[in-house]
């Protein structure tokens, strides 16, 4: 076991910090406030001139795709170093990592052609994927998905509907899970396709979240104003859009989801509130009352801080596993239970430390830190739902990690 960073990694952190400080201009921050869509402002191009310019500078430093192989547009560095770059940028609201991008799954399961086509452009920000996983009736039961892809010569014809296709309105491609064989056990008939958003037959309809009216400040947990539902109406895609083999999409998707969870972004959305509240109570008083001296608040802050350390260490464990080849049994699920629930506990505890101030939203008189604590409360639980709910994660820990048996379950119609 080694809990330290190498001198080179520490130097990298200082280098990234030194870069960030002069580059975070007031104009850039204003543009970022406008672009904020949760998980930080991403590299997706063409959204704003100052963000584009910043990402060009970051790319020139070689900090995009830091741990991806050089032949696919990365830098071939270790995963921990990539984490350090991600962490420093995530703290200022910029998402340089590739968590949630689909890139790790392509690296693991894509053909050579797909890797060469997609990875360099995902890394540079020229491409970005909307994730087409769940559906109106599916919720967390992803394997019950009904969206159909039917082979027709060299093409597949896709019909169905996807829910919560976040960023579908700004993405270049969709990473879609669809059913290719309805006559086999439900996990065995699913395939993954990647194709451009502008193919005929796709419609994207916005769904507005509760968290962004008024607009959530930068750094809000989750923080997205908008997600989408996406409709597929006789969408024809070439067979080369398949990622991995036909009907083996469940394995590719699960592995991709595990890898997509690893990194600084998910860790920081769960724990940055802990830093915020400690630093806030150190610096602020209400008339003569200092929350920093309140024994109940001190005890709760320490408790949350300790929980946050566990979030960090579970993230470090996931990255250690990736460095050793990425063979997760339950550890990714453990991280995905602990960290989101911790984030909720912190968001709720802060409301009980600040009392009525915690209800003030962005722009209100007397709002604390632009109302971020109120906006957080509306979205913190979201992290326990998206990308695999904490209940499903617990099922996976129990069954895959601990070998507990599957029980009788309500059997829906097999799709």
């Amino acid at each position: 076991m080694d809990f330290g960073y190498t001198p080179e990694q520490e130097a990298l952190r200082q280098e990234v910090r030194a870069f960030i400080k002069p580059n975070m201009t007031r104009e850039l921050l204003e543009e970022m406030e406008d672009l904020n869509e949760g998980f930080g402002v991403s590299r997706v191009r063409g959204r704003g001139p100052r963000v584009d310019e910043l990402f060009k500078k970051i790319a020139d430093r070689g900090w995009l795709g830091y741990s991806f192989p050089k032949e696919y547009g990365g830098q071939g560095k270790d995963r921990i170093s990539q984490y350090i770059v991600e962490e420093e940028f995530a703290r200022v609201g910029i998402a340089v990592g590739l968590a949630g991008s689909g890139a790790p799954a392509i690296l693991a399961a894509g053909t050579e052609e797909q890797k060469r086509e997609f990875l360099p452009k995902l890394i540079s920000g020229e491409y970005s994927f909307a994730l087409g996983f769940t559906e109106p009736q599916a919720g967390a039961d992803l394997a019950s998905l009904q969206c159909r892809a039917v082979r027709d010569g060299d093409y597949y014809v896709i019909n169905g509907q996807k829910m919560y296709t976040s960023a579908a309105h700004v993405s270049t491609h969709i990473y879609l899970m669809a059913r290719t064989n309805p006559d086999v056990p439900r996990h065995s008939g699913i395939s993954i396709f990647i194709f451009p958003m502008d193919v005929p037959g796709m419609t994207v309809r916005p769904l507005w979240t509760i968290q962004n009216e008024p607009r959530a400040p930068l750094g809000t947990t989750y923080g997205a104003a908008r997600t989408n539902e996406t409709f597929f109406d006789d969408v024809r895609v070439h067979k080369s859009a398949l990622l991995g083999k036909e009907n083996e999409g469940w394995g590719v998707g699960s592995m991709g989801l595990n890898l997509d969870r690893v990194g600084a972004a998910r860790y920081l959305i769960s724990v940055r509130r802990d830093e915020d509240i400690v630093n806030w109570v150190k610096a602020n008083k209400f008339d003569g009352y200092s929350p920093a001296n309140d024994p109940a608040i001190r005890d709760k802050i320490a408790e949350l801080w300790i929980e946050a350390q566990v979030c960090r260490l579970m993230t470090m464990r996931s990255m250690s596993i990736v460095e050793h080849g990425g063979n997760f049994t339950y550890e990714g699920s453990a991280e995905k239970v602990w960290a989101p629930e911790h984030g909720v506990r912190t968001s709720e505890a802060i409301t009980q430390m600040l009392g009525p101030y915690a209800q003030l939203l962005n722009g209100s008189p007397h709002a604390v830190e632009k109302g971020i604590f109120a906006h957080n409360l509306m979205g913190a639980f979201q992290s326990g739902i998206n990308h695999g709910s904490v209940q499903v994660m617990r099922d996976q820990i129990a069954r895959r990690g601990l070998g507990l048996p599957s029980g009788r379950r309500a059997q829906g119609p097999r799709q």
Partner: protein, 393 residues
Amino acid sequence: MDVLLTEEEKMVRDSAREFFEAECSTTLVREMEIDPKGYPPALWRKAAELGWQGMALPEKYGGQDLPLLYLGLIFEEVGRAVAPLPLHSTVVAALTIAKDGTEAQREAILPAVVRGDAVLTWAFTEQDPRFLPDAVHMQAVASGDHFVLNGTKLFVDNFVAADQCLVACRTAPGSKGDAGLSLFLVDTKSAGLSHTPLVTLAKDKQSEVVFENVRVPRANLIGELNQGGPIVERMLDRATALLCAQMLGATRKDAEMAIEYAKYRVAFGQPIGAFQSIQHVCADMIVWIDGGEMLTYEALWKMDQGLPASVEVSQAKAFCNEKCEAVVRFSQIIHGGIGFMMEFDLHLWFRRVSAWTMRLGTSYEHRARVAHALIDLPGRVVLGRPVPVVAEA
């Protein structure tokens, strides 16, 4: 950064596990609960042959000079087996002698510890149960080339078996806090010493120890006079981190028993482990134990690197106290009535883990230490960077 066990670390853990599986049955554990000394000397010697007492002691005295982290792996297995050995009190005192004692003290004590010929312990707590220097009132008064000790120490682990005991005393009358403390090496056969066994939840061997004009040679002072505070604090930090490892090993075994039980115990027509209400509790148990382990090993690793680790130690103990107790409680609940029966072994773990949560600092005390470092000391905190805040270049 690689928080997974190396091959060598796995070997250390596995060999200790195999040893206890072969040598330490629950029958033995039960026998030692009513044994006056509380441990089997033969097993103690075998542990010495494996080098455990001397694992982290300097090679010069026969030890192996291995990191505390390795010792943590051993203590996890001691906990897993709920092995009735005075290893914790001995190793904690021996490490303090190795790090802060004089050459003469080390030569007199450490080789015997390594050989398995000595049992050590330490005494800190008096009436006030807090692990704070302010809780120490016992006086040691200089008298020629001796100090004279008067007072009462409580909860002294394995005193009944110990040859030597490190004793924290106040040597500057009227002093408070860290200042004015000194640590003495006291022969347990000294005139004026008496002890009364306490009857404990874990059925381990703890004593009230009364010092009546106990004369201790000046040469037995550990470190400088009145400078014992930091020595004691480091000793307690090491003791706490190693106790966390021991708790976690016991707690993991306890959880595994509940998980196995849930696989074959049938109720309502299926194994109870197929019910999600049981599955989700079991998942949480493992998440908590894993979390406690990483907190604990990070603390031990920091000590091995010579870095400040008090905050990390407190993080680990506060977390382990609450989570380990919750795990062993849930394990009792999953077992139902049978876990409440004396003839069933589960209580051997339940009682010990519960007792260990109460020793070496409560959750409240450790969180107070963390809160102090976070809130009362200057600088903006950042998760993953040192707390108290250290200025970075």
